[in-house]
């Protein structure tokens, strides 16, 4: 059976280095599918390929039954596939609200409008505020995004993906660089998102992964070496050797 997202034989090389090496996996609607793997395993590269930031060498990516392998990043977002970045990528000079409103703008009508001030479009602002409220940034709406704390920036990353009205979120290490408290906020947020969204979650924090995920796939040197329930993957000898063992 194939899921909401269905990846077949996906490959990507940088020169002689095979970073994505024949990956197959499916993401069922409504699940949190975690992808774990050691540093340099190719997790971010895979997210780049799924989101359209990088062209795949071969293989197919289907989303909601449609082949999206050759679509641009922008076109995939319009289909309902949005991503966040491991290294925070926001519009630093914009306010938090304008960040989210810009994401809403991308999906609501033409942006070839030249005379009405965008900041006063309540349709955009209301949807933006809803996304900000969902991640707990409503209070920060009028601050400059570049002035947010690191944890708040990570929340904004997710708010931007939400504001695109995506069905499936590809989250690349949402906890990256966060402290314990900031991380707890984000884990609670993802648990809440599960009610409304399908999530592909890349994460190093094993506690977070095993608390949140329905399915875990382990990626090592560009190959998926195991995929299944958290308990099954945790028990997998190959995974233990390649990854969990390292963690101690």
């Amino acid at each position: 059976m194939s899921g909401l997202l269905s990846v077949r034989n996906l490959c990507k090389s940088f020169g002689a280095l095979k970073v994505t090496d024949g990956i197959d996996f499916d993401v069922a609607p409504g699940e949190i599918h975690a992808i774990i793997g050691p540093n340099g395993a190719g997790k971010t590269t895979l997210i780049h390929q799924l989101s359209g930031a990088l062209k795949s060498d071969s293989g197919t990516v289907r989303f909601a039954g449609e082949d999206i392998t050759r679509l641009s990043m922008a076109a995939r977002v319009k289909k309902g596939l949005a991503r966040s970045f491991q290294i925070t990528s926001i519009l630093e000079g914009f306010t938090v609200l304008e960040n989210a409103a810009t994401a809403v703008q991308a999906r609501s009508g033409s942006s070839f409008r030249f005379f009405t001030p965008a900041a006063s479009e309540s349709v955009l602002n209301e949807a933006a505020m809803a996304a900000l409220a969902r991640v707990g940034l409503a209070e920060a709406a009028h601050r400059r995004a570049g002035d947010l704390s690191h944890g708040e920036k990570r929340q904004l990353e997710i708010a931007l993906a939400l504001a695109t009205d995506a069905k499936l979120l590809l989250l690349d290490e949402p906890l990256a660089g966060t402290g314990h408290e900031e991380g707890a906020v984000l884990i609670a947020l993802m648990a809440d998102l599960k009610a409304t969204h399908t999530l592909v979650l890349i994460e190093h924090d094993m506690d977070a992964v095993f608390a949140l995920a329905d399915t875990v796939s382990a990626l090592v040197y560009g190959r998926l070496i195991a995929s299944g329930t958290p308990d099954a993957v945790r028990a997998d000898p190959e995974v233990r050797a390649a990854y969990l063992g390292e963690e101690g």
């Binding site: 989101s51 930031a53 641009s72 990043m73 922008a74 977002v77 319009k78 949005a82 991503r83 970045f85 990528s89 926001i90 519009l91 630093e92 000079g93 914009f94 304008e98 810009t102 994401a103 703008q105 991308a106 999906r107 033409s110 942006s111 070839f112 409008r113 030249f114 005379f115 009405t116 001030p117 965008a118 900041a119 479009e121 400059r144 570049g146 002035d147 931007l160 504001a163 695109t164």
Partner: protein, 331 residues
């Protein structure tokens, strides 16, 4: 020293935001409006000629600020659009078409078309390549006019009559031309001010801040940047129409890369991405040039050094400086 400015380290270029920039522009416009009277009273009626030239370049700098300041598109061929506008006037005039509306329409269409074709190609490249390609297209336009002997070639083309409006010689007097240029400047300012705050402007500003992020929320920046490039080219073409009338002469020299560089300096000097700064930059640049050149033959040396100092020490150009001097209120 008091450094009450609580702007964080990230906000490196203090911008005269919203209201401050508007007030600054209104003050400049008010000064421009009474300038002919002041010049007359001061017994220097010829100052109006210099002032017209300043306004013409302010219009071009304003248009460059749309792409450079709001789009981070570093075009090194912007003078070509002014040249195309100026040649539209002179070439039409040699064929007996002197009406300014027809000339302006042709100038806008020709410069917009040139911007569309060259922008469509150059915006596919990035960074230094983009700068080099815009420079190359600018030089191409320059050499094309040099080789076009039917219209003066290297020697340029003299405009025997200034443009008319429905047959009326409204621009013949220096005052008439001055106020016509001022009207275009004010119009361009308010047009661009609306544009940068619009949905379109937001996409442009967002792409300047973080192109990949804009793609990740569903935008393809290319058509927006190209549109901005065409709009900027068209406005610079309009500035060229005024320039031809002011100098009553058109030559390929209007299109050189040095001219394009001067326009960039004006925008950077005034403060990028403020619109008001572009106007202030044109005033500052041309006044400085005027004053220094009257003082010393080797004024270029001092001029260059002064520009470097101003840009280095005013952070965000003249607009940034004004923002810090008058910016009791933050942002």
């Amino acid at each position: 020293m008091k450094d009450t400015d609580t702007a964080p380290a990230g906000a490196r270029t203090p911008r005269l935001a919203g209201r401050g920039a508007l007030i600054g522009a209104l003050v400049l416009f008010a000064i421009f409006a009474v300038l002919p009277f002041a010049a007359h009273a001061a017994g220097d009626p010829f100052f109006i000629v210099t002032a017209t030239r300043i306004i013409v370049f302010a219009i071009a700098a304003l248009s460059l600020d749309l792409i450079l300041g709001y789009g981070a598109i570093v075009s090194f061929g912007h003078a070509a659009f002014m040249g195309i506008g100026a040649y539209s006037v002179a070439i039409l005039a040699t064929h007996g078409i002197g009406d300014v509306l027809v000339q302006a329409l042709v100038a806008v269409l020709a410069s917009a078309l040139f911007a569309l074709v060259t922008g469509a190609i150059s915006l596919r490249t990035k960074g230094v390549y983009f700068i080099m390609i815009t420079l190359a297209f600018g030089q191409m336009a320059y050499f094309f006019m040099v080789s076009l002997s039917a219209y003066g070639g290297d020697d340029g083309l003299t405009l025997y009559d200034r443009s008319t409006l429905f047959g009326a010689p409204l621009l013949d007097g220096d005052i008439g031309l001055y106020y016509a240029a001022l009207a275009v400047l004010v119009g361009a300012f308010f047009l661009l001010r609306a544009v940068v705050a619009s949905r379109f402007g937001r996409v442009l500003r967002g792409t300047r801040d973080n192109r990949v992020r804009m793609q990740a929320i569903g935008f393809s920046p290319y058509p927006y940047q190209l549109t901005a490039y065409v709009l900027a080219g068209a406005i610079a073409g309009l500035a060229g129409v005024l320039l031809a009338n002011q100098t009553e002469f058109v030559s390929p020299a209007y299109m050189t890369w040095q001219r394009s560089g001067e326009l960039i300096v004006m925008v950077v000097l005034g403060g990028m991405g403020t619109l008001t700064g572009a106007i202030a930059g044109a005033v500052g640049f041309l006044m400085l040039e005027e004053i220094l050149s009257s003082l010393w033959v080797h004024w270029h040396i001092v001029f260059g050094a002064l520009l470097v100092l101003i840009v280095l020490y005013t952070r965000g150009g003249l607009a940034g400086l004004a923002g810090r001097v008058f910016g009791g209120r933050r942002r």
